[in-house]
């Protein structure tokens, strides 16, 4: 099984994230054909109706485009991938900040810690992070 689903979250949302991640990592390129509902359903072992819903939602937010009779394709729109990256980065940041808050860090402390961590990594690897 390629992805492990969390049964306590709507699966169509998880499929959407899965596809967006593939776009960000380049596994799916702009203009690539998105697998058909059937194909994805049996690959993910998920109900085809759920897959259908995920793809419809992706179509609605402009991530994929439907071409009549040909199926769905990843958008070729330049800004879209960047928008998805920002969206995902935002989610990561939210989780990170929440975790730091729980540990009792705030504002400048967090900025300093992050700057420190990046510096340490750069020195260790001798390359940019």
């Amino acid at each position: 099984m390629p992805i492990e689903f969390d049964n306590n979250l709507p699966i169509y949302l998880q499929i959407m994230t899965h596809i967006k991640r593939q776009m960000v990592t380049g596994a799916l390129q702009p203009g690539d054909k998105v697998p058909a509902v059937r194909e994805l359903a049996s690959e993910l072992q998920i109900n085809p109706n759920t897959v259908q819903r995920a793809l419809q939602e992706l179509e609605r937010d402009g991530t994929v485009e439907s071409r009549r009779g040909l199926g769905r394709y990843v958008t070729s729109e330049e800004g879209k991938i960047m928008a998805i990256k920002k969206e995902m980065a935002g989610e990561l940041l939210d989780r990170f900040l929440e975790g730091m808050k729980e540990l009792g860090f705030a504002g400048d402390d967090i900025t300093a810690i992050v700057a420190d961590a990046i510096q340490t990594k750069q020195e260790g690897k001798g390359e940019e992070v």
Binding site: N7, N8, L9, P10, I11, Q45, I46, T50
Partner: protein, 230 residues
């Protein structure tokens, strides 16, 4: 029109088992989980819909037709006990079904048999419990009908094979038919459901879209535990 309509259906067996005033309706094109502990009425409900038993009171209609001879061609039932005879080989069981049901699709059966790694020459009595379940599932899914009833299709197979069987169910499912799957193994199978029906002591306690359950933050398994907590 609903695909399936039950109105106030009651069926009593000796003791307390059976159904108690069940009403429900199912739309076409869904995979529905019928969930409940052992003895909650899942098998009774399925036998009544399949027309193998008759309710004491209430009505059951499939595509608007009262359950009876006329609905036999609308419903494919996978019982929790095998319907094959001891003398049969796998190929005999397939031929038997093909003779019996005009809607039986031999091509589909052939594909499913090879997917399930069943050999036509295997005697049915020599099959393990898990392999026997795969055969029953092959027979039930090879018919072309609007309503499939699968009673505990994965109870006897090991967890690895369960995945394969779920694959077969998802793959063979056609969007215009509805599939009702009863199980008490919620975790392994919930990902294929559109909708779940929870049944307890012969009564429906919940019928809901699975993604709606998840949106509310409580998954199917947790709901199942909450409802059926002793």
């Amino acid at each position: 029109m609903s695909l399936l309509e039950l109105a106030n259906v009651t069926k009593r067996y000796k003791g307390t088992r059976g159904l108690n005033g069940v009403s429900l309706s199912l739309d076409p094109g869904k995979i529905v989980g019928l969930l409940g502990p052992n003895g909650s009425g899942k098998t009774t409900l399925m036998s009544l819909i399949a027309g193998l038993a008759h309710p004491d009171s209430g009505t059951i209609k499939v595509q608007g037709v009262p359950v009876g001879l006329a609905t036999r061609s609308l419903v494919s039932f996978l019982p929790d006990q095998p319907l094959t005879e001891p003398w049969m080989k796998v190929e005999d069981a397939v031929a038997y079904y093909a003779d019996f049901f005009a809607d039986f699709d031999r091509e589909k059966a052939r594909e499913l048999l090879s997917f399930m790694k069943l050999l036509p020459s295997d005697p049915v009595t020599a099959l393990s419990k898990g392999m026997s379940e795969r055969l029953q599932l092959t027979l039930a899914l090879s018919r072309r009908v609007p309503l499939y009833l699968l009673d505990e299709p994965i109870g006897g197979v090991d967890p690895v094979a369960r995945g394969k069987i779920l694959d077969a169910i998802v793959e063979q499912y056609s969007e215009d038919s509805t599939l009702v799957v009863s199980t008490h193994l919620v975790r392994d199978i919930e990902r294929i459901f559109d909708e779940v029906i929870l049944i307890q002591e012969g009564k429906i306690v919940l019928q809901q879209e699975v993604e709606d359950l998840r949106l509310s933050g409580v998954g199917v398994e947790e709901t199942f535990r909450e409802v059926f907590a002793e």
